[in-house]
């Protein structure tokens, strides 16, 4: 039995990344994720890795591009404003098919906003990797343990699909301390025969995203889209009391932790509520949401935003059940009693219609 540690979410991701074999970290400090680069600054040199605080997030993501292109496992972390700055670089990584892991601990926005927990970067993370038709694979942990576990998975998915993978957390997850059992260090070898480590007698290895021939670039786009179709098999979600649920709450990350408590309280009051928690946000668990909605009278989406994932839920539900939304934003976090009231409202509405 491994001895559990008590760690902040940010630290657990950092330690997990080290055990996944990360040997390059680039970033720029921003609350609420600064413990992550602080941890890396202390520990990465001990593992023979490179820690570098760049002059900006734009520089940092391009340093990741360089290191990852040379076949090194590279990590970068930030919060909303920095994530915006990284979009251009992420597009280049996607276009060049270079793997990396990017952590976004979301905070209240838009603009400089504040340092309190929020989920307003859902669109930016899931809909497009910067410009062009690229996507990030997006994982959304709801506990410190899951943040640790999904970090390992993120590096594996990045390699398997040669694509950047995002871990989408929030200020609460990054700052809260929880028990965590850390993974054993990864010893398996990666296939980096595409990386610029020297071609020997083989063909030259070129990492680039420029392609001036429209037909050739279209073919490359089709290849990327085929990759994202293949990635659908990586879809993950957690169902909690959903099988017999008349009111299905859909929430991810820290919002799902609060929703789970509200679902239990609703059940105690005789309301048949359940919780469906997407763990992968791209690919989105559309089929699971559709099936749960098909058995339910109503769906309630709860987010720490003005309503972003609710659009993917509506696309998945396709009118099988009414989809209602409840959100707080700007760094305000809803409470279990607040969500319970919303579940009761939606349940009553579904009964009367």
């Amino acid at each position: 039995m491994m001895t559990p540690a008590l760690m902040k979410g940010n630290e657990a991701i950092a330690e997990s990344a080290l055990r996944a074999g990360v040997r390059a970290y680039f970033g720029y400090p921003i609350t609420p994720q600064s413990e992550l680069p602080e941890y890396m600054a202390r520990r990465l040199p001990e593992h023979g890795g490179v820690f570098l605080q760049a002059e900006s997030e734009v520089a940092a993501i391009n340093m990741v591009f360089g290191a990852a292109g040379a076949g090194v496992r590279a990590l970068i972390s930030t919060s909303g404003p920095g994530f915006s700055l990284m979009q251009e670089g992420l597009s280049y990584l996607v276009g060049s098919e270079v793997p990396c892991v990017v952590v976004d601990m979301m905070r209240g926005g838009p603009g400089l906003g504040n340092v309190a927990p929020a989920q307003g970067d859902y669109f930016q993370a899931t809909k497009s990797a910067g410009h062009g038709d690229g996507r990030l694979l997006v994982l959304a942990p709801a506990s410190v343990q899951e943040a640790c576990d999904l970090t390992l998975l993120a590096f594996d998915l990045a390699d398997r699909y040669r694509n950047p993978v995002a871990i989408l957390g929030d200020g609460l997850l990054g700052q809260m301390m929880e028990q965590v059992v850390l993974p054993d260090p990864v010893t398996s070898l990666r296939d980096v025969t595409w990386a610029t480590t020297g071609a020997g007698d083989g063909p030259a290895r070129v990492i680039t995203s420029i392609n001036l021939e429209p037909e050739a670039l279209e073919a490359h786009n089709r290849h990327l889209q085929e990759k994202y179709r293949r990635a659908q098999q990586e879809v993950r979600w957690e169902s909690y009391r959903v099988d017999d649920a008349g009111v299905v709450v859909v929430a991810y990350g820290i919002a799902a932790r609060i929703a789970r408590t509200a679902v239990d309280r609703a059940r105690a009051r005789g309301i048949d509520a359940g919780l469906l928690r997407p763990v992968t946000l791209f690919p989105f668990p559309s089929r699971a949401v559709a099936e749960a909605a098909g058995r339910a009278r109503a769906v309630l989406v709860a987010e720490l935003s003005a309503g972003q994932m609710v659009e993917d839920v509506r696309l998945a539900v396709e009118g099988r059940a009414p989809v209602r939304f409840y959100g707080r934003c700007g760094g305000v976090v809803f409470t279990p009693p607040e969500l319970l009231e919303q579940i009761e409202r939606v349940a009553a509405e579904a009964r009367s219609s």
Partner: protein
């Protein structure tokens, strides 16, 4: 008189200490620390009983409570 030392840079303003404080003497600074949080401060040291509930609950070990020596009151 009890003395409560709160590391203003380590505190992330989670407010757990204020929730568990029996006499309710903890408040939050109007100033921001370097991470951008409003750290906890002892607002009324006269009513602090030095029970150490705040220090025990603090997830970041940011609070130290000094008790007066026995008989020193």
């Amino acid at each position: 008189m009890a003395r409560v030392v709160i590391d203003q840079q380590l505190c992330k303003g989670c407010q757990l200490c204020a929730v568990v404080c029996p006499p309710g003497v903890l408040a939050f600074s109007l100033k921001l620390n370097s991470a951008g949080y409003h750290p906890a401060v002892l607002a009324d040291d006269g009513r602090c009983t030095s029970c150490t509930a705040c220090a025990l609950v603090c997830p970041d070990v940011a609070i130290t409570v000094y008790r007066p020596e026995a008989g020193a009151r």
